[in-house]
Symmetry: C2
Subunit: 184 residues, 2 copies
DNA sequence: ACCTGAACACCGTTCAAGT
DNA sequence: ACCTGAACACCGTTCAAGT
């Protein structure tokens, strides 16, 4: 059987979701594809690049249509989509956040947030600061939430995690600050 | 030479700062101490626990006296101390953030933020949401900033990173939201 | 273009045994 | 209490060679 890059990424995402990030090794992935580990390097330059592709695939699969018209509602919509996309796959948040930390992936949500803030009439520097603050909030909250969910499902803890309400509350804190800076 | 846990943690932090997180392996650390790798497991249960201790040591070394009286100024003070502490060591942000993601470390800054928000007269649920939002902001911003700084010093990029001004601006966004909720 | 086979240079962790 | 020696069960990546 001959594979293309998309097959490798799709299989990597399946391994991630079924067995977790710590089980997603190049050797394991090769084994699942029935191929030698070295064959993977024909499709992908290294593991970090593969994980960045997996991160983008997670976000692509979570895409939803934009409905909100008001800029601040659109911010909430984009952030909620981002959160849901990451939560939809085991260790999804960690993969996406790590890729972003290394300067890869998550470019599209960032761009959508920038546009929303710009449409809101915010000055350029506030658009910059606001976009990054919102991304950090979503990433941090979702990574923490997913960790708690997975710990709970493993029976390690009974504590209910933040959930969507806490998530939106945190967002509203930043949105308050942003609304106060419209037309500043 | 016989070591105690503190020696191991201190040496781990030195290896981290001198050679980076990717070089901080149990085998390398053992080598630097002139000891077999297996000897480390007398002082520490595993690598993850060691990294959590290193994270706490980074934060402990960055401790500064509290000066601000107003609750919101104290929030800025705590967050700035946290940022500076992480930036003071190579890959410091990544180590602290990872430890926090796995539910370890960074307990003291969280507690100090909680107290500041409580002193501000915020209701309990806002204290919770606000503390986590602030931590996520500081962690996200600092990890990104340190990544950019290290990429720049490696000559990979010329772009000047966020810096302290952007950091405080992001914080102010959240503080605006919090101030609006005092006595709510 | 895509893959095999074999190797290189490593990892974290365990455990019986020593002092 | 702290450490050695040796092993177990893995890693990511490279590279000549095959089809």
């Amino acid at each position: 059987m001959r594979y293309h890059r998309d097959d490798v990424v799709a299989r990597a995402l399946a391994v991630l979701d079924d067995h977790g990030l710590e089980s997603l090794t190049m050797r394991r992935l090769a084994g699942e594809l029935g191929v030698q580990p070295s064959a993977l390097y024909h499709h992908v330059p290294n593991k970090q690049a593969l994980l960045a592709l997996v991160a983008d695939e997670i976000l692509a699969r979570g895409k939803r249509p934009r409905r909100a018209k008001r800029w601040d509602r659109r911010v909430v919509e984009v952030c909620a989509e981002l959160r849901d996309a990451m939560l939809a796959y085991r260790d999804g948040a960690e993969v996406v956040v790590t890729a972003h930390t290394f300067g890869l992936g998550a470019a599209e949500p960032a761009q959508q947030l920038r546009e929303a803030l710009r449409d809101g009439g915010l000055p350029d520097d506030v658009v910059d600061v606001g976009t990054r603050a919102l991304l950090h909030l979503v990433f941090g909250h979702t990574a923490e939430e997913q960790m708690a969910l997975q710990a709970a499902s493993a029976g390690a803890i009974e504590r209910a995690p933040g959930g969507p309400a806490d998530f939106e509350h945190g967002l509203e804190l930043v949105l308050d600050g942003l609304r106060a800076r419209v037309n500043a």
